[in-house]
Structures are given as structure tokens and as C-alpha cells.
């Protein structure tokens, strides 16, 4: 059996992921977080008299705090692997990746361990976030925006 034939055999016998189900779960979980976020924004602006911009910052901070705290308490990873993109795309995913790296390397020293590996997963988000912001800004300027 050559390599091509073998790869076909592997493809035929490996179970396929249920993408439709994964997408539906991500859609509803992500949507639910968005819904709760909107409610939280409404509460902050209406009951506490905050501006919408201030309230949005508080919302972000609260989501990061929750993601970090629940990761540190040890059960966020189980929800995360079940809800997939539903929890990865909101700020919770970013917080989760940083906290999990910090927990993994805390015994290997503050500089060589925790510091050096803190952005192991989130580094990509930061780097490509900055690059895409840069590119999109140039596009916007060129379009006269």
C-alpha cells in the first residue's frame, strides 16, 4: 500500500467532526454571552449612569476577570472544550489562554517560567491583531476615511 492509498484509508476510517453541531453550540453560547453582555451594559448605563464607552470597558474587564477566575478554579477548560468558539471568540478566550499558561509555568520561575511563557498562546492574537489593525488603518486612510 503506498502513502496516497494509506492516507485515503485513514481518511475513510477516521470519524468526522460534527461541524454543524459545533457551529450551533458556538452560535448559541457566543450569542448568550453577547446577550448577557448587552444586559450588563444596559444595567451599567441605565442604573449607574455610566457613558456607553465606560460601560463597555467595564464589561470587558468583567469578562476577563470571569475567564481568569474560572480558569484558575479549574473548570473553565471543560466548558471551553465543549462550547468551542462560543467561548474562544469573546475576551474570555484570551483571558483563558493567558491564565492557563501562567498556571502551567508558575513553578519554573517568575522570569524563565511565568514571564517567558505568559503569552505563549495569546502572543499570536496580539501580534496578528496589531498587524491587521495596522493594515486596515492604511486601507481606511487610503479610502479617505
Amino acid at each position: 500500500m503506498n502513502i496516497k492509498e494509506y492516507q485515503k484509508l485513514v481518511k475513510d476510517l477516521s470519524p468526522r467532526e460534527n461541524r454543524l453541531k459545533n457551529m450551533a453550540v458556538a452560535f448559541f453560547v457566543g450569542g448568550l454571552i453577547g446577550f448577557l453582555g448587552e444586559f450588563y451594559l444596559y444595567l451599567l448605563t441605565e442604573s449607574f449612569g455610566m457613558s456607553r464607552a465606560d460601560a463597555f470597558s467595564w464589561l470587558c474587564l468583567t469578562l476577563i476577570l470571569l475567564g481568569t477566575l474560572l480558569t484558575a478554579l479549574g473548570f473553565f477548560d471543560n466548558w471551553f472544550s465543549k462550547c468551542k468558539c462560543g467561548l474562544i471568540i469573546p475576551t474570555t478566550g484570551f483571558a483563558h489562554s493567558i491564565t492557563s499558561c501562567a498556571l502551567d509555568f508558575k513553578k519554573e520561575g517568575l522570569i524563565t517560567g511565568l514571564g517567558a511563557n505568559f503569552f505563549k498562546l495569546a502572543g499570536s492574537v496580539i501580534l496578528y491583531g496589531i498587524i491587521s489593525a495596522f493594515v486596515l488603518t492604511i486601507v481606511r486612510v487610503m479610502l479617505g476615511g
Binding site: 472544550s81 483563558h96 498556571l103
Partner: protein
């Protein structure tokens, strides 16, 4: 010739320790089962070292042996530079050979031990292996607390350690023969489908073993592969049928036997400790099989080479055991 028959080598005793998930799993009768992954240490690596020390200490104690009775310690684990085994070996003062064959480490150390016993003046050899789910996750995959979604082809590294005592004193389990495997690479790059990576290696070694010793698969009461998992074992059977014209009836995979279906271990257990745990705590306990062929399968990759988009080679080693009641 890659296959060797042994005149006088016996697997005299074994000692097993497992982690919390294996404790709740399908098998019973482990010597020690832990309630948590730390084993009263402050890191998972230290916990794995302690597991190895405890099984070696216990096998010495059970057999009334002192440290200078042991002629050789041979074994390894999954950690970089097999550091876990090195750190446990330093405590005993035994002559030590460290081996790495990923999840085929158990049969590889049995083969080395059996050859030393059969051909030289060695009398007592301990083979050791271990794996720890969380040290392996950290090294090969994502941070432990990071809940990266996994595909259904992924396997779950088992937590545990097994020490075996090999001697020339006739006993219940005879190491009858062995076949050393050849690395094979069938172009798979997916480290989340290690069953597919290792299945051709298992087929290659099984075929060579049967040809070298002029046996048919029916010669064995059971052929047990190490950790192909539920997906990999199907690929193995199909590949063997198409490529070698061998149809297996008396076949099990240890990865499929270790955990229960509702334990969310994807395609089943893996790790070098998976094969000996199932062999000692299920296959031998059942008293159903006399002639058993174990084939340990190892995926010989590192995260660096996988990230560089290289295909993954695999190896499999086979050991034939005869149970005498």
C-alpha cells in the same frame, strides 16, 4: 533477523500504580490507585518520578530483594530526555539503561532485559515505564488548564507507572520470543491521530514476527497492541488485511480497554503505561489466554518537528509471552 527466541527468561513479578481517571476506569486490581494527579508533590513531573520510585521500591520489597541484587534497570518514559526515569533511577544505585521508544518503551525494555538475561551473566533485571497525562499534555499539546477542543481521533495519555522484575527463575509468565521493529513513516502529519501514525508500524512488526518464526496469527490466543486507540485499531486491521492479507480474529487494543466510554477520552488511552496496565490488570487476570503477543506502538515525533510540518515516523516492538498455570 529481527526476531529472537529466548530459552530461559521469565517475567517474575510486576507492580502497578495508576492515576485517578484510570482508578474510575474499566480495570480493577491495581496495586496502588491515586486520588489526585499531584501524589503529594508540588509539580506533576515530581509526581511521575515518585510513581516510578514507589513501584520500584515495592517490587524490591515484595520479592525480598536489596538494591545490590539488581543487575540492571532498563526503561523510559515520555518526558524530554526521559528525565523522569533518569531522576527516579538516581535513587537506587542500579546500573541503568534509559530507553526511548515513546509508547513502545515497555516492550523495548522487555526485549533489552530478556536479551541480557538470556545471553549474559545477568540474573535480575527491573524494567520500568511510566506516563502522566498532565506532564504529557504540557509537553506535547497545550497548557493543562487550556481547554483546546480535540478531535475524535485524539487519544488520552494514561497516568501510571509499571515496574516488572525479569529473572531466569521459572515462573508463570515466560518471555518466549521478541521482534524488534523498524521505523516506518506513512506520510501522516496529524499528531492528533496517532493511531493512524502507528498502525502501519504495528502491521510491519506483526508481519515480520509471524514470518520470522513461521507462525500464523491463530498461533496466539491473543494479539494485543499498545495504544492504537479505537480509531487506530480499525485502521490497523484494515491495513493488515489489504497490505499483508492477514485477518485478525483474536485481537484487542489496550488503548480501547483502559477507560470507560463515558470518560471522554476520545479514541481511548495511550502512553507507554497503557499496554502493561491492560496486560497485567485485565488480560492476565482473566486467565483466558496462554499465548499472548504484545505489540507496543510508539509515535516518534516531537512538537518541534510536527510544527515544522514534518510527517511522523512510528515504531512497534513485539514480545511473545506464554502463561503457564
Amino acid at each position: 533477523m529481527a526476531s529472537t527466541k529466548y530459552k530461559n527468561v521469565y517475567l517474575t513479578d510486576y507492580y502497578t500504580i495508576v492515576g485517578p481517571l484510570e482508578k474510575e476506569g474499566r480495570l480493577r486490581g491495581y496495586n496502588i490507585a491515586l486520588d489526585n494527579y499531584y501524589y503529594n508533590e508540588n509539580t506533576f513531573e515530581k509526581a511521575e518520578i515518585k510513581m516510578q520510585k514507589v513501584v520500584i521500591d515495592n517490587i524490591l520489597f515484595k520479592n525480598g530483594l536489596r538494591n545490590d541484587d539488581i543487575d540492571l534497570l532498563v526503561g523510559g518514559d515520555l518526558s524530554n530526555q526521559i528525565s523522569v526515569t533518569n531522576y527516579s533511577a538516581k535513587n537506587f544505585g542500579f546500573p541503568f539503561l534509559g530507553v526511548y521508544a515513546a509508547c513502545a518503551t515497555f516492550p523495548e525494555s522487555l526485549i533489552i532485559g530478556a536479551n541480557f538475561l538470556d545471553n549474559m551473566a545477568y540474573k535480575k533485571i527491573i524494567s520500568i515505564t511510566s506516563s502522566h497525562n498532565l506532564t504529557a499534555e504540557k509537553q506535547f499539546r497545550y497548557p493543562i488548564e487550556y481547554g483546546a477542543p480535540k478531535p475524535h481521533t485524539a487519544t488520552f495519555t494514561a497516568t501510571g507507572s509499571v515496574a516488572t522484575l525479569l529473572t531466569k527463575v521459572p515462573g508463570h509468565i515466560k518471555i518466549e520470543s521478541s521482534t524488534i521493529g523498524t521505523p516506518i513513516d506513512m506520510g501522516i502529519k496529524d499528531a492528533n491521530n496517532m493511531g493512524a501514525v502507528m498502525a502501519p508500524a504495528a502491521a510491519l512488526t506483526l508481519n515480520r514476527h509471524l514470518q520470522d518464526l513461521k507462525r500464523s496469527p491463530e498461533y496466539y490466543d491473543l494479539i494485543l497492541t499498545g495504544d492504537l486507540g479505537c480509531v487506530g485499531s480499525e485502521i490497523f486491521k484494515q491495513y493488515l488485511k489489504i497490505n499483508n492479507g492477514i485477518t485478525l480474529k483474536n485481537y484487542k487494543d489496550a488503548g480501547c480497554e483502559l477507560f470507560l466510554e463515558d470518560q471522554e477520552t476520545y479514541a481511548g488511552g495511550s502512553g507507554p503505561v497503557c499496554l502493561p496496565l491492560v496486560l497485567f490488570n485485565r488480560i492476565l487476570n482473566s486467565r483466558k489466554y496462554q499465548k499472548i503477543l504484545i505489540i507496543g506502538t510508539g509515535s516518534l515525533h516531537s512538537s518541534t518537528l510536527v510544527n515544522q510540518k514534518n510527517t511522523i515516523p512510528a515504531i512497534a516492538h513485539a514480545v511473545s509471552l506464554e502463561v503457564v498455570r
